[in-house]
Symmetry: C2
Subunit: 264 residues, 2 copies
């Protein structure tokens, strides 16, 4: 360790945000983005320009409970909790910095993530949600939950998820991803009933969870049979799948890393 | 039954609302209130001026999941579900009409209520809540939940709750109320940890639940001992109790009526 402050350290922030006010996670010139807000906060707190890397590039309107963001700095950080509170104050409304941990040198929130969990809320009722209005997709349709659960089974495992990817991928870029788990469960949040579709995987294609949800809802409302989902997967064509579910129902729930990613 | 439409019918609406945008429940000239919005919606839908009565006059900022509102009309209501949807559309943002039931003649949402349940959310953590920010009182203090539960015990039963009432009551008006149940439990809502203080009683004085919560939090943070609450009750003086907890943590959760209050 050199005492002159030139030793760089790498940090991982866990952040929660409401997707509604932001033009997504990824920094864009002239737009209010989560990455832009965090970079500005970290740069102000540490008094030099800092670039941050996020575990998931959430789209406009998508929320996060456990997004993870990393950055490297040569600035001294004598008190991590004090820095977390400063960042929390500096990022402004709609974002909360919930944790700050020292990471091993070279840590990347994006490349070191071993799994990501997304949760999607649906309110299937003739009665609109009030407290969940901005946090769930409201549909008047009655949904057959066991049929949706059956339909989700073929998604588990390593597959080419091209049918579930909104942007056409560049030549030679793999659209194979490994989904560990998909589940559908009824829940009560803030006193309102909803369905939660949870998906855990190593990584996700653009809008993949939202297309999975849109596809499962086609089965849930009886427009398709559960075994249709295996055909959709096989087709490797976005047009084969159901619609993209709206952004505001989706939350990046948590991101996992190996224990050794962090300083103990 | 007369066929000329002059037979009046009485209706009970269940409504949910976000307290933030409204100047409370009770109608006030020139203010955006929940009662004002509902009266305007019902009057528009039924094409005559209608006054509505609410089970609880929630203060500015207080939310409701299960507020009940009654009104009487001579207008024909051929399809209650269609009326509910119209009202839901007419009340505008921040209010949801979740149920419409035909009540017995003379029914009053206020006077026929046999019990009211309020829930108060507290986030006790150095980390601020994000999704619960507008729905919970955030305090940095660590709270001793068993001490709070012990402190709440003397509140159960029929007592003079004058110490827990914010407005000075008029001469001769009773401040005796019956509290059926008070409980404190940890909960997870929208992925964020909170404490819920629940209170069920026959009726409540102005700000009574918020003063109860403010008083229990004094015990929870160690400023007072649990047996202090019995002294507060005994004092019959608002100055004896703890502070009034902020409005945005409170939700009017449900209101109960005898089964015979409604047409079957």
């Amino acid at each position: 360790m050199s005492g002159d402050g030139s030793e760089s350290t790498t940090w991982a922030l866990r952040v929660a945000y409401d997707g509604a006010p932001f033009s997504g996670f990824a920094r864009q010139e002239g737009q209010d983005t989560v990455q832009g807000r965090i970079e500005s906060a970290v740069s102000t707190a540490l008094r030099h320009d800092v670039e941050v890397v996020g575990a998931g590039r959430t789209d406009t309107g998508v929320h996060a409970l456990g997004q993870v963001v990393s950055f490297t700095t040569e600035a001294d950080v004598p008190d991590a909790e004090m820095l977390r509170r400063s960042l929390n104050a500096l990022v402004g409304e709609g974002i909360a910095v919930t944790e700050l941990r020292r990471a091993r040198p070279g840590f990347s929130a994006r490349f070191d993530a071993v799994s990501r969990e997304y949760r999607y809320r649906i309110v299937a009722s003739p009665v609109q949600p009030l407290f969940l209005a901005g946090l769930a997709w409201w549909t008047n349709a009655w949904l057959d939950v066991p049929a949706m659960a059956e339909a989700a089974l073929p998604l588990v495992g390593e597959h080419d998820f091209r049918s579930f990817c909104v942007t056409s991928s560049a030549e030679g870029v793999s659209t194979t991803r490994a989904v560990e788990r998909v589940w559908i469960e009824p829940a009560v949040e803030l006193g309102e009933h909803c369905l939660v579709v949870g998906v855990v995987g190593n990584a996700f294609l653009h809008s993949m969870v939202r297309v999975i949800v849109g596809t499962l809802v086609e089965v849930g409302r009886g427009a398709r049979r559960p075994d249709w989902v295996a055909e959709v997967l096989e087709a490797r064509d976005r047009r084969a799948a159901g619609p993209t579910a709206p952004a505001h129902g989706l939350t990046l729930w948590r991101v996992d890393y190996p224990d050794e990613a962090f300083e103990s």
